[in-house]
Structures are given as C-alpha cells and as structure tokens.
Symmetry: C2
Subunit: 434 residues, 2 copies
C-alpha cells in the first residue's frame, strides 16, 4: 500500500540497495520468463498450480507463522481493525487458498484458442489466436491471499507477473512466494514467471509502472487513491477499477415483489462491495406504494435513507439527499433514493452521477428493458436482477482478478480471458499480394 509503505520501511528485512536496478532486474527476468511461459503447455501450467497447492499444504505452519509475525508488527504499528482483518490468514482462508489453486487448474486454458478462421478471396485463411499479454504487474494492498490468486491466474493465462503486495503482509507474502516458486520449478517452468517484489520501498511501485519495455500491463487492486495515483503516473497500460456507484431503477410496470426483493438484496446483501446499489431510482407511479414497504425492509436491516424531496414527502422523517449523495459510493448501510419521471430521467441520472459500473432496471415492459440495455453505458447492465451478481464467479468466468470500469480491452469482471489478447494468424500456401 503506497500510502503506508514508509511507515514500515525501517522494519524492512530485505536490503535491496538500488531499487531502480533491482526492479530492472525483475523486469528483465520477467520478460525472459514470459517468452517461456508463452509456449508452456496446459498440463505443465496445471502441474505447477497443483504443486503449489502441495507445497502450500506442506508449509502451512510456516506460512501461518509468517502471517502471525505480520499481524504482531501490524498491531505494533497501529494498523486499524479492518486492515488487520484483511491481513489475517486463518485456517479457513488458508484452505480457501489451496482450494483456489485446484479451481484455477480446473479452468479451461484460454491460450491458443483460434476464432473465426475464414477463407478470403485471395486464398489465405485469417483468424485470431488468443495469446498471453506477456508481463503483468499487480499492485495490491494488505490481503496475502491475493498473492496466490494473482499468481495463479497470471500463470494459467500464460503470463509472467511481478507482484507488489502491501508491506504489512511482507512475511506471509515471502512465505507464499517460496511455495509458488517451488511449484513452478517442479513443473519445469521458470521461477521468474512469478516474482514477488522483495522490498517495501515505495519507490518500487514507481519503477514497476514505468517500465513499458518489461511490463505490458499494470493491474492495481486496492483503494481508489492507490488506483488513481497509479493510473495518473503509469507509463504502461492500466486495467483499473474505480468506483461502483450502482443504481437500481424501478419502472412503473415493475413486478412489485421482484422490485422489493432486488432493491433490498442489491443494497443489503453486502455493504462494502463495489456492486452494491448506492442509489435507488423509482418511477413516480410506483413510489407511493413501494416506498413504505421498502422503508420498512431497509429499517429491519438498519439502512439509513436519504431521499429527494418527493421521497421525503412520501416517507417523512428521512434525511434530505444532497448533490453529494448522488455521487456517493457509501460502501455502508446508507442509501440515496430519488423519485424520477420515467426511464429518460432515470438514464440521465445514471449517466450524470453513475460510475459506469453496474446498473439495473426492474420492469416488465419489453421495450423499456431493451432501451435500458442499449443506452446505459455501464460495464454491466441488468434487467430484473440484483446488481450484486456483477462478479466473475456469478458470470461463469471461473475466477476474477478484478472488475474493470475501463472501456478498452476488458470491461466488467476480468477473468483469465482478460489476461490474454488476440493476434491475427494467416495461413497460406504461398499466396502473395497482387
């Protein structure tokens, strides 16, 4: 975590010396490993993943002890409870890490897939082959299990990666890195296919995001300020995930029960996730009947409501929503509610205040459903479903490295495919251009 790195720098066990030279060394090794990984067979990659799981199981006590040391240091340096919770590896999280490796091994390998091979009038056949991106740099914060998750997804998609975890998780990350390396070598793959940056010097991130010759893409995972800083300073393309200001719009033709279930689930199923609804938009004709029922349901969950004037008039006794509320990603049991006049106004609100992450309409009107899908410019657009479904696992990607709010390359949940690209292949029999 960039902002916190300095506070643990003095505790850094690894004396790297010249950070720029060190990062260049990692970059060169990663580039060389990427060339080997590009040609790695699916079975070798799966063998490495399963070997990592074995080594992790074998070194369970060691990894947990390293994590315990991180936690002690974290308490000493005054990390807050939420951060300490993300940092902690209990038995269940440890088992989930091992299980995750087995799951990634079981996923289909996207590399080498050829699409749309078609014959052209010239006699050549043209298609597109899915290939690894090359070297992926991942910058993340406290959770040590991300080290394994990121490594396994980059490996399965045939990429080399350089992982820069939070300094808080230093010891656990180093122990996990050992297991990863053992797994790679056991399968005959280059150890440098996964490199964990062994310095907590914050300058390391600056170098990592400025080496286009060695790094093809950067994926930051963490808070908004980390992602914004990396996006601003990177000289390498960034697959990024900013806010999730998600909306549910309930149209006048909506089924009452579906609307109630979706509006409650989208807000209350989990508060801290990016696909949680932050603003509820209600078409005027349904507001009178739906709002009291919704208010009762939200009250049961302890959700505080902030409404527009029309919402306040119907419900009474709730806080006024300000301009700031329409922009807010609360990540908390707070909900902004606005009564609007029809789909046009709803789409305008979403366009103006939303973050193009996930937005849903609840309607039984065929034409409005189609219109909402076509016109709402978000990475996920839903009809009669909870925004909470915007997730790589729920979408069937098998895994998720993050959710992209970018428009280029990967948009929405990013799985193995998002870590690959497609090149053209041309098959001929001696054709030349006339």
């Amino acid at each position: 975590m960039i902002a916190n790195a300095s506070r643990t720098e003095r505790a850094d066990a690894h004396d790297i010396g010249d950070v720029a030279a060190y990062m260049t060394t990692l970059g060169q090794a990663a580039r060389a490993a990427a060339t080997q990984m590009r040609r790695a067979s699916t079975s070798d990659k799966n063998r490495a993943l399963l070997a990592m799981a074995d080594h992790l199981a074998r070194r369970r006590d060691e990894v947990l002890a390293a994590n315990a040391a991180d936690l002690v240091r974290g308490r000493e340096t005054g990390l807050d409870t939420a951060l300490l919770d993300r940092l902690a590896l209990d038995e269940a999280r440890f088992d989930a890490m091992i299980e995750g490796l087995h799951q990634v091994a079981g996923l289909p390998d996207p590399v080498g897939e050829i699409d749309g091979l078609r014959s052209r009038p010239s006699g050549i056949q043209v298609g597109q082959m899915r290939v690894p991106l090359g070297v992926i740099g991942i910058v993340y914060e406290s959770r040590p299990n991300v080290t394994l998750e990121a490594a396994s997804l980059c490996l399965k998609s045939g990429n080399a990666c350089i992982l820069r975890g939070g300094s808080e998780a230093r010891d656990a990350n180093a122990a996990i890195a050992t297991c990863i390396r053992e797994g790679l070598l056991e399968a005959g793959l280059p150890g440098a296919a996964v490199q964990v940056v062994a310095t907590t010097d914050r300058a390391a991130v600056g170098h990592l995001i400025s080496m286009p010759e060695y790094v093809d893409v950067i994926i930051p995972r963490g808070g908004k300020s980390l992602i914004e800083r990396i996006s601003r300073e990177a000289r390498v393309p960034v697959i990024k995930h900013l806010d999730g200001v998600c909306h549910v719009y309930v149209d006048a033709t909506a089924d009452f029960d579906k609307a109630l279930a979706i509006a409650v689930n989208a807000k209350t199923q989990r508060y801290g996730t990016c696909n949680t609804m932050e603003t509820l938009l209600l078409d005027a004709p349904v507001a009178d009947t739906l709002l009291p029922k919704l208010a009762a349901a939200y009250a049961e969950h302890g959700v505080a409501l902030r409404g527009c004037e029309r919402t306040q008039a119907i419900l009474g006794g709730i806080a006024a929503a300000t301009e700031e509320d329409w922009h807010a990603e609360y990540l908390a049991p707070i909900l902004a509610i606005r009564v609007v006049d029809g789909i046009e106004a709803a789409i305008e609100h979403i366009e103006r205040y939303g973050s193009h992450h996930t937005d849903a309409i609840v309607t039984e009107h065929y034409g409005l459903a189609r219109r909402f899908m076509a016109e709402v410019d978000s990475s996920s657009v839903m009809v009669n479903a909870s925004t909470r479904f915007a997730d790589g696992f729920e979408y069937g990607l098998g895994a998720e490295i993050g959710i992209s709010t970018d428009k280029l390359h990967a948009r929405g949940p990013v799985g193995l495919e998002g870590l690959t690209t497609r090149k053209y292949i041309v098959l001929g029999d001696g054709q030349v251009r006339q």
Copy 2:
C-alpha cells in the same frame, strides 16, 4: 501535423480565441452527441453515410477548389513533394471517397450484437453486448480523405468523433466537414457527432488528448514522432501504431517457389507500407541455393541488399548489415538479410529486433508452422503468405482505421469492431444473490 502546425498558424483563417475553452466546447458537444449516437439505428446511420456521399458529389467543385487552395498554400510554404502528393485530391481520389461511404454503409453494424448469452446456476442469463466506445479523437496528417474515412467509421460504429487533421489540408477539411454535417442532419443525427477542429493552433492537440471526461480514446495516424508524442502526453487511452519492422523467415523445409514468391512480394509489392518486409531471415541449409535467385530478383526491382557475414560470403559484393539495419524500418527499396541456424535463432531475432507488427514463416514443416504461430508475439503471424496481407481489407474487416501494435484492446488491423467495446448484460426474472 504537430511539427508543422506553427508554420501555417499565421495563415489560419479561423480565429478561435481561447483554444482551451474551444476544445472544451467541442468535448462537451461530442459527449452529448455520443449519448444520442449510442441509440442511433443502423438505418439512420446508413442514411447519413449515403446523404454525405450525395452532398459530397453535389459540392465536388467546391471541395476540389478548397483542396487547390491548400495546394497553393502548401507550395508557397515549401511543403515537400511527398506531402503535396498526399494532400492532393484528384478526380480518382474524390470518387474513391464517395465509393468509400457507400462501402461503409454496406458493412454490418457491430453495435448491439450479443455474444455468448448463457444461463447460470443462479438463474440469470449472462452475455456480452457490443457497444460504441463513446467519443473518439483522431489526430492525423495531410491527407484530407482521412477526414471522411475516419468520420464514416466512427459514425457507423455509433461513436461521436473529434477530428484534428493537418493544417496543410485546412480548406479541404472544412469543405468536407460541411458535407458530413449536412449528411448527419439530413438523417436526423446530431451534427456534433462529427466535429472537425477548426483551428490549426497546435495547442488544440494537447487539449484533445487531455480530456478524459469528454474523449474515450485517441487514435493518432501519422509519422512515428507524432504517435510517440501523443502516446507520451495523452491522458486518454491511445490506440497506436508504431513501426512495422516485419520479417520473413524461410525454413529449411520451405517450398523453393513459395519462398521466392513471398520474399520478393513482401519486399517489393510496395515499399512505403508498414507491412512491408524489412529483414529476411534464411535458415542456413537453404541460403546457398536461395540467395543467388533472390539476389537476382531483387536486383531486377532495384532493391539494395545488406547482409550478415554469411550472406556476404554467399552473395559477395553486398554491403554489410550493421546492428542498426536489424532495427531499421526502411520504407524503401533496401533489405537486410541474415542467415540463421534454425527456428529458435529466427524467433530470437524477431523477438529482439522486430516491432511485433507482422512476421511470416515459409515452411512445409507442420510442427514448425505451429511453433512459429504460437511463439512469435506479433499482431499478425503468417505461414506461407506475404506480410503485405496484413491489412483490414485483406482480412475481411471491410474497412480499416489503422493497424494497432498495442497488445490491449485492438491488435492488428482495426476495423469497426475495434471502435466498439463489449459490456455485460444480465437478464433475470427477479433473481437476487444468496
């Protein structure tokens, strides 16, 4: 053209005043137009394209007169012959512009296409819908026909665009912009869907590439220095096309006639294009027999050869290739030749010196063909075909806005699809997440 803008600035007929404010105005108008374009029907977009063609035909004399004025000014300001040639619109080029509009109208509309709609265990259906990128900024140099090409492709793919052409083509671009606007309005589409920047002040480009709130992607078309500068300074994603240092590798098992035909065609069919071969790699066993035949063929075309020591030993009397030659994009009747020992050395050479644009192998060996395809990390990889085929029309894209040497988003020739992105759509019947 950034580098040359200042020299014609004083001749600028349009007094824009505050360039930053002007570009912001264009950006806001484009963003609003993009919202309308996103919902434009295929038939409205096609009607606009055909109306543009009609208006262009009607205003033929006017556009040609404007181009003549550009040419007079160009000669006065000392533009070189190559630049003047690119600038000139003769009758044939004018007809091609009109024909191009008809062709784009005939292409399938990629917008709205839904892929892979699948049911998930939760009961939701998940798929991906192809949608416009939004606002595309295009920066290009002297050719006025690019104005129409870029506008037609952005329009058909449902995007709004801001076009910044070369100051040399100022008058023709303005006349063409009038026809474009007439066509848009006639089809009921917003005039701001295509805006041609009406100032030659070089600061306009700086603003255009720094407005992520109004511009979703920048496509620079032009010389390497223009593209490098824009890539370096842009705060918006760039779809870029840098060098084409393309290779043909002739393997020992290659069919002699195919090798000869491809090696000659890839170099001599056109010299100034990015998919022209710049370095020929020959597997040692074929060098002795193939090189003299090749040398004779190249001599007929007036191609100057520069060879490695082994090539020099076989041919005699040709210049030595230096380290610089292996990196060179000649765009001229010059060819570097190197004798290598097998595919491993060939791939290493391509990896080290190539530009990841287009590379071909000539071979009859099945396993080597597969290996070359899998391991060469270029936007187009070919077996037994001339590198000159790397082109949107030859690939069947129907049109081409450029060839991307980036790995993310679009790689290789970029057609209508490359100007779109895919968002997830979720169809449910009231599903909520458990």
